[in-house]
Symmetry: C2
Subunit: 121 residues, 2 copies
């Protein structure tokens, strides 16, 4: 009755989770750094509001068990919460590749059909 009712509802959230998991899988990292690395995938995090949402998504990845965390107090400045991928996270990422591949095919088809539409006009 309680627990998780839904799988992938919102896509934006879904993609953001995948981008973050890939970045973390490549190299353990922390929220502030990840926010800049997201540029690789065309995501610009601007303003504290958006940062806040990013932190919330990260903490939920932890709740789901896809990442674990470790505080880094070595560097100067405020402590950093380092996110490290788990086996469960890697598995989730692997399974999610299907949807990424489908999205690539879909966008490709969409662009092709849009061009065809404009040829006729």
């Amino acid at each position: 009755m309680p627990g998780f009712k839904k799988r992938f509802c919102g896509l934006r959230r879904h993609w953001l989770e995948l981008y973050l998991l890939l970045l973390i899988a490549e190299k353990p990292s922390y929220g502030y750094e990840l926010s800049t690395k997201l540029k690789d995938f065309g995501i610009i995090i601007s303003g504290t509001g958006q940062m806040g949402n990013l932190y919330r998504i990260l903490s939920q990845l932890e709740v789901k068990g896809f990442v674990k965390t470790d505080w880094d107090t070595q560097e100067s400045g405020p402590a950093r919460k380092i996110y490290i991928i788990t086996d469960s996270g890697l598995l989730f990422l692997r399974d999610a590749m299907d949807s990424v591949i489908e999205m690539e095919k879909t966008t490709e088809k969409f662009i092709k059909r849009y061009k065809e539409l404009n040829k006729k006009t």
Copy 2:
């Protein structure tokens, strides 16, 4: 103060709107038919609940002025509400192509980086 505060919040909704606008631009159509044509873009509409959401998105496309409608009572069976693209809708579609092209690039990059990640492991 009132009016539209946001642009593209949810991606899922955003994509669905674009798919529908392209399909309607290709050929005027109605909700029930569009629900089957969405398969072209990997979207499976199943159950009356999902159909209901589709109709709501269509009616909001009309509110935004991207489509206009016309009732078709010629065919047998229940009347069909035919959606026809407007100039405003075509303009919106054209402007949105940037985000489609970016999504294609992003997914391509994502797949490449995921493969590279697994090479090392």
